[in-house]
C-alpha cells in the first residue's frame, strides 16, 4: 500500500477529487491532504472534514507556512494601501534569507506567467493578460513588454534566463522537512498553475529528495487561462487528448510524461438519477410543470462580472419571441456559487414562469445541492450559459447546450482558449449564436426536438470527459493511474548542478533586490531610503540617549546633588555648631577673665 501526499492550494479543490480520493483510500492507500491556504470560502473546509470522516486513511492538514506567500507578495504590491510592509522582517537571518528567495521566486514566476500571455497564441486574451500584468510589480512590466515585442527568439531566450534563475532558487528547508516527514511514495499537486504559484517548490523538493511527483490538472481551463507549469513534474495527469496537446505545446511537457485519465470530477453525473418527479421538482423551484423550461447556468466572476443585465435581456428576448415555444418556456436561473451575490438584483417575478434556484443564500456544499442540481439539468429542455463547466455537465446529462456570443463577454469567450473547446472540440458541445435572434431560433429548434444533440454530446463526452470509453469511469482510471505511479521506483534524488550552485550568490543578490522591488514603490524611493533609515536611526539614538539620560543619568545626578547638598548642609551645620560652641567658650572665657579682672581690682 502506498503513501500519497496530495498538496492542494485550498480545500475547495477537494471537490474535483472527492470520489477518486475515497477510491484510493478504499484501495488501502494512505492519503494525506495538505492545504497551502486554509480558508472556508464557500464552506470548503466542510468538504475536508467530510472526507476525513469518510475514511480513516485520509487525513487533512495545513502545508508549512511560507515566510512570503503569494498573497503577502501581492498585498505588498497594493500602492493604494495605507498600510505598508515591515521595514525589517521578524525572525533571524535564516527567515530573512528565505523571505528574499521566496520574493525572487514569486517575481520570476509572475514574469513568466505574464510573458506567456504575450505569446501569439494568446493574442486575443486581453483580460487574461491584464490579470497577469496586474499581479506583477510595475517596474518589470515595460521590460517584459519590450522583450515580448522584440520577437519570439528574444522571448524564448528571456524565458530561458528566468527558468535558470528558478533553478538557482534553493528549496525551503521547512518544506523539505515537511515532505521528508510525510515519506510519500507519490507527491500529487493541484492546481500548480495559479499565477505565481509556490507549489513549484514542492516539485523541486520532490526532485531533490527522490520522490515521484505528479500534477493533477483540476479543470478544463487550467492549462490555458492561468500560469505556466514552470518546473515540470515527473507526470502530468490530464482529462483528455486536448489537454495533453496543451500541456505539450503550451507548457513544454514531454508527451511521455502526460497521463490521460478523463474527468473524474464528472463521474457522479453519469450514474445520477432524478430524485423526484418532474412535477414535484417544478413545483419546488416555482416553475409551471406543464411547460418545458430552459436552465440558465451562471458563470464565474472573472467570466461574467456583470451577468444580470445580459440574463434579463435574454429572458426578455425569449418572452418577446415570435416563436410561441420559446416565448412560453419556463426559465430556471442557477447562479454560479462563487458569483451569486449579483443575482440578488434579478427580480424573476417580473416575468411569468421564471425562477432562481437554488436560493442565493443556500449552502453550496449542502447535502442536497448535487441532487437538486442534477434534477434541474435532467428536467430542463436546454441549458444556456456564457462559459462555465456547468455546460459540460449539461452535455453529460444529454441536454442541448447553447450560448450567445455577447460583446460584453468577448473577453471570456473569444478571449479564452478553453471556450473554443466548448464550441469546436469534436464538432462542439455548445451551439453558439452570434446574436440573440439566432439564439432564439436555435433554442426553438432544440426545444421542439428538431435538432437532436445526443450524438454531438456523446461524441464530445467520449473525447473530452471520458476518453477511455463512455462506460469507463474516469475516477477508476485516475485511481489506477495513481496506483501505477506510486508503485513505480522512485527517481534518483537530483541535487542542484554545480553551475546552479555557482550562480546562487548572484541569484541571492537578485533575490534581495526582488524583495525590495516587490513593494512596487516608485524608483526614487529606493535611493532615498538609506537616508531616511539613517535619519530614523539617528532619531532612535537621540531617543535612546534621552531615555538613558532620563532613566539612568538624571537620577544619579540628582542623588549626587542631593548628597552634595546634604553634605554642604551638614558641614555648614557642623561649622555653625562649632562656631557657636567656640563663641560660647570664648564668651565663657571672656566672662571668666572679666570676673577675674574684677576680683583683682580693689
Amino acid at each position: 500500500m502506498s503513501r500519497i501526499l496530495f498538496v492542494m492550494l485550498h480545500p475547495g479543490f477537494i471537490r474535483y477529487y472527492e470520489g477518486a480520493l475515497e477510491g484510493l483510500a478504499g484501495a488501502g492507500h494512505e492519503v494525506r491532504l495538505a492545504f497551502e491556504v486554509s480558508h472556508d470560502k464557500l464552506g470548503a473546509n466542510a468538504l475536508a472534514r467530510r472526507l476525513e470522516a469518510a475514511s480513516p486513511r485520509i487525513t487533512c492538514g495545513d502545508a508549512p507556512t511560507r515566510s512570503d506567500s503569494v498573497r503577502d507578495f501581492l498585498a505588498r504590491l497594493d500602492r493604494s494601501a495605507t498600510r505598508s510592509g515591515l521595514a525589517r522582517q521578524r525572525g533571524g537571518r535564516r527567515e530573512a534569507r528565505e523571505h528574499a528567495w521566496e520574493s525572487l521566486a514569486t517575481t520570476v514566476r509572475l514574469i513568466l506567467d505574464y510573458l506567456r500571455f504575450l505569446e501569439p497564441a494568446f493574442a486575443r486574451a486581453d483580460k487574461l493578460r491584464d490579470r497577469a500584468e496586474k499581479r506583477l510589480p510595475r517596474v518589470y512590466v515595460p521590460v517584459v513588454r519590450a522583450v515580448a515585442a522584440a520577437g519570439g527568439r528574444t522571448r524564448r531566450a528571456f524565458a530561458a534566463v528566468l527558468r535558470a534563475v528558478e533553478r538557482a532558487i534553493p528549496t525551503s528547508p521547512a518544506l523539505e522537512a515537511f515532505v521528508r516527514g510525510q515519506r510519500p511514495d507519490l507527491l500529487l499537486l493541484t492546481p500548480l498553475i495559479e499565477l505565481g504559484s509556490q507549489q513549484v517548490d514542492y516539485v523541486k523538493c520532490a526532485r531533490r529528495l527522490g520522490i515521484r511527483s505528479a500534477l493533477c490538472v483540476a479543470s478544463w481551463d487550467n492549462l490555458t487561462s492561468k500560469g505556466l507549469i514552470r518546473v515540470i513534474p515527473d507526470h502530468v495527469i490530464v482529462w483528455n487528448d486536448v489537454q495533453k496537446t496543451e500541456a505539450v505545446a503550451l507548457h513544454g511537457v514531454p508527451p511521455d510524461r502526460v497521463v490521460v485519465t478523463g474527468a473524474q470530477v464528472f463521474d457522479r453525473w453519469f450514474d445520477a438519477r432524478p430524485s423526484r418527479s418532474r412535477e414535484a421538482f417544478c413545483r419546488a423551484v416555482g416553475l409551471d410543470p406543464d411547460r418545458p423550461f430552459v436552465l440558465y447556468v451562471g458563470s464565474s466572476t472573472f467570466v461574467a462580472p456583470d451577468e444580470v443585465p445580459f440574463a434579463e435581456r435574454w429572458i426578455a428576448r425569449l418572452r418577446d419571441s415570435g416563436d410561441p415555444t420559446v416565448a412560453s418556456l419556463g426559465v430556471l436561473v442557477r447562479p454560479h456559487p462563487a458569483n451569486a451575490r449579483q443575482w440578488r438584483t434579478l427580480d424573476p417575478r417580473i416575468w411569468p414562469n421564471v425562477a432562481i434556484w437554488p436560493p442565493i443564500d443556500g449552502d453550496p456544499n449542502g447535502p442536497d445541492v448535487h441532487r437538486d442540481y442534477f434534477d434541474s439539468l435532467f428536467y430542463s429542455s436546454a441549458v444556456v450559459g456564457i462559459n462555465t463547466s456547468a455546460q459540460l455537465e449539461a452535455g453529460i446529462v444529454g441536454r442541448p447546450v447553447l450560448t450567445v456570443r455577447a460583446p460584453e463577454f468577448a473577453h471570456s469567450q473569444a478571449g479564452t482558449l478553453h471556450f473554443q473547446h466548448l464550441v469546436s472540440a469534436d464538432g462542439g458541445l455548445v451551439q453558439a449564436a452570434a446574436t440573440l435572434d439566432e439564439h432564439v431560433e436555435q433554442l426553438g429548434r432544440v426545444v421542439r426536438g428538431e435538432r437532436d444533440p445526443s450524438e454531438a454530446n456523446r461524441r464530445f463526452v467520449r473525447s473530452f470527459i471520458r476518453p477511455h470509453g463512455e462506460d469507463v469511469a474516469a475516477g477508476g482510471v485516475f485511481v489506477g493511474a495513481i496506483e501505477t505511479l506510486a508503485r513505480m521506483p522512485p527517481p534518483a534524488p537530483r541535487g542542484p548542478s554545480w553551475s546552479t550552485v555557482l550562480a546562487r550568490p548572484f541569484a541571492y543578490a537578485a533575490a534581495k533586490a526582488a524583495g525590495v522591488l516587490a513593494e512596487d514603490r516608485p524608483l526614487w524611493v529606493y535611493p532615498l531610503r538609506p537616508a531616511v533609515t539613517a535619519a530614523v536611526w539617528m532619531g532612535a539614538t537621540v531617543f535612546w540617549a534621552r531615555t538613558a539620560m532620563r532613566e539612568h543619568v538624571r537620577p544619579r545626578i540628582k542623588r549626587l546633588r542631593r548628597g552634595a547638598q546634604r553634605a554642604r548642609h551638614e558641614s555648614a551645620h557642623a561649622v555653625e555648631k562649632r562656631w557657636k560652641r567656640a563663641r560660647r567658650r570664648a564668651r565663657r572665657a571672656l566672662a571668666i577673665a572679666n570676673s577675674a579682672v574684677r576680683r583683682e581690682q580693689p
Binding site: 495605507t82 498600510r83 505598508s84 510592509g85 515591515l86 521595514a87 525589517r88 521578524r90 456583470d306 444580470v308 443585465p309 434579463e312 435581456r313 426578455a316 428576448r317 418577446d320 451575490r341 449579483q342 440578488r344 438584483t345 434579478l346 427580480d347 417580473i350 442565493i360 443564500d361 450567445v404 455577447a406 460583446p407 460584453e408 446574436t435 440573440l436 435572434d437 513593494e519 514603490r521 516608485p522 524611493v525 532615498l528 531610503r529 531616511v532 533609515t533 530614523v536 532619531g539 532612535a540 531617543f543 535612546w544 531615555t547
Partner: protein, 411 residues
C-alpha cells in the same frame, strides 16, 4: 463595481482648462481647445463655453485640429453667438496663447500631483520605518502619526475636484447644423424612413433595450416615429422602431440630426443626456445609479434611478438610501436593479405629457430635488461624487425624478 461611485466627469477632460480670454480686433473672445477625441465631454465643454461667452458678452473661438465640417458637434453653429474661426496668423497666435496657458496649468497640475504622490510615498515610507520592531515604541508611534498626517495632506479634498458646471448648462444655446450638413443628414434620414413630418422620439438605451419595447408601441400609437441610435450590445430590433443602431448607414451626423429634430430623447447614459443639452432636446435618463450625476439640469429633463438592492440581504432600498454618505462612499454591497418595462413606460408617459402639455412638478418631486440638493451640499466636502456631480452653488437642476419614483420615495 468600484468601491466608490464613478466620478468620471473630471476624467472626461484630461486637464480641465477654463477658456482663456483675449481681445481680437477690439472684441473679447473666449478661446477653448476642446478635446475632440473624447466625445463624452465635448458637448458639456462646448455648451459651457458658449454660455460663458454669452454671459461675458464675448465671442467664442474653438481651436481644434478637426475641421468643424468633419465633426457634427463642432459644426453646430449658435445663432446668438459669434464664433471666431481661428485660421492664419491670428489662429496661430491664439493657439500659442492657449498652449502657454495649458503649459502653465499642466505645470501647476503636475506639481500638485507630484507633491501628492510624494506625500503618499513619504507616508508609506514612514509607516514602513515605523514597522521596525527594533525601534523604540514611542518613536514608532511618532512615525505612524507623521505618516497619517502626510497621507491626510496628500488626499485631494473632495471640494477641489472639477465640478460639473450645472449652472453653465442651464441656459439654452440655439445652435443648428450648417445647411449643407443639414440637407445631407435630412436626405439620409428620409431614405431610412424617418419622415420629417412625423414627430420623432430618439431612443439610445444600450443596457436593457428590451424594456423599451412597450414604450415603442405606446409612442407609435400616439403617432411618434421611434428611432433607436447608439452602440447596441446586440442588434435586437424593437417593434415599431427605425433601428439606426444596427444600420450600416448610421453616422454621427445622422445621430445628431435625429436627436436635434426629436421631440425628446430616452437614454441610459450621461453622455447622451449631455448631447441633448447641446441640441436642446428634452431628455429622459433611465437607470441612473446615483441621484447627483444624472439629475437633469434643464426643466424639460426627467430621470429615473435604478432600484438599489442590498447585495447581502437582497432587500430593495429606496432612492433616498443613495443620499447617505456611507452608501455613496462604498457601493460594493449595493447592486442595482434596472427599471422594469412598466416603470420605463410610466416615465415615458410623464415625458410625453411634459413635452406636449407643459411640465408640472409634484410635491414629491420637489421634495426629492430639495433632498438631493441638501445632501449634495452637505457631503460635498467629504464625498468626491457629491463634490463633482452635486449642486453647483446650490443648484442641482430644474429637472425632476420620475413621478412614480419620487412619490414612492416620498412615501
Amino acid at each position: 463595481m468600484g468601491s466608490e461611485l464613478k466620478t468620471h466627469y473630471s476624467k472626461l477632460l484630461d486637464v480641465h482648462l477654463d477658456p482663456i480670454r483675449v481681445n481680437v480686433g477690439g472684441r473679447p473672445v473666449l478661446v477653448v481647445m476642446p478635446d475632440v477625441s473624447r466625445i463624452e465631454g465635448l458637448s458639456v465643454e462646448l455648451l459651457a463655453t458658449y454660455n460663458r461667452a454669452r454671459a461675458e458678452h464675448a465671442d467664442a473661438c474653438l481651436l481644434t485640429s478637426v475641421e468643424p465640417s468633419h465633426h457634427p458637434l463642432l459644426a453646430l453653429e449658435p445663432s446668438d453667438l459669434r464664433i471666431v474661426h481661428a485660421d492664419g496668423v491670428s489662429g496661430a497666435w491664439l493657439r500659442l496663447l492657449w498652449r502657454m496657458a495649458a503649459v502653465e496649468r499642466r505645470a501647476v497640475d503636475g506639481w500638485s500631483r507630484a507633491s501628492r504622490a510624494f506625500r503618499v510615498e513619504w507616508s508609506r515610507e514612514l509607516r514602513r520605518q515605523g514597522g521596525d520592531e527594533r525601534l523604540p515604541l514611542e518613536l514608532r508611534g511618532w512615525l505612524r502619526a507623521r505618516a497619517r498626517r502626510s497621507l491626510a495632506k496628500a488626499a485631494v479634498p473632495p471640494g477641489a475636484t472639477t465640478r460639473f458646471p450645472r449652472r453653465l448648462l442651464r441656459d439654452r444655446v440655439h445652435a443648428s447644423l450648417p445647411s449643407g450638413m443639414l440637407a445631407e443628414a435630412s436626405a439620409t434620414a428620409r431614405a431610412l424612413g424617418i419622415d420629417p413630418a412625423v414627430p420623432t422620439v430618439t431612443v439610445d438605451v444600450r443596457r436593457r433595450p428590451d424594456t423599451c419595447a412597450s414604450v415603442s408601441s405606446w409612442l407609435a400609437n400616439r403617432g411618434y416615429c421611434v428611432v433607436r441610435v447608439g452602440e447596441a450590445p446586440d442588434p435586437v430590433p424593437v417593434r415599431a422602431t427605425i433601428d439606426l443602431a444596427s444600420s450600416r448607414q448610421r453616422t454621427p451626423l445622422l445621430d445628431l440630426f435625429v436627436l436635434s429634430t426629436s421631440r425628446f430623447l430616452v437614454c441610459d447614459s450621461l453622455e447622451a443626456q449631455h448631447v441633448a443639452y447641446l441640441t436642446n432636446t428634452p431628455s429622459l435618463l433611465l437607470n441612473a445609479h446615483d441621484p447627483f450625476s444624472g439629475y437633469p439640469v434643464r426643466d424639460d429633463g426627467l430621470f429615473t434611478l435604478s432600484t438599489p438592492v442590498d447585495l447581502d440581504t437582497g432587500q430593495t432600498l429606496t432612492p433616498d438610501a443613495l443620499l447617505h454618505e456611507a452608501r455613496l462612499k462604498d457601493v460594493r454591497d449595493c447592486g442595482f436593479r434596472d427599471n422594469t418595462a412598466a416603470e420605463v413606460l410610466a416615465a415615458v408617459q410623464e415625458m410625453h405629457d411634459g413635452v406636449t402639455a407643459g411640465w408640472s412638478t409634484s410635491p414629491g418631486q420637489i421634495r426629492f430635488r430639495d433632498r438631493v440638493a441638501a445632501a449634495g451640499e452637505a457631503m460635498a466636502a467629504r464625498v468626491a461624487a457629491a463634490a463633482e456631480w452635486g449642486p453647483d452653488a446650490g443648484f442641482i437642476g430644474d429637472g425632476r425624478l420620475a413621478r412614480w419614483q419620487a412619490e414612492g420615495s416620498a412615501s
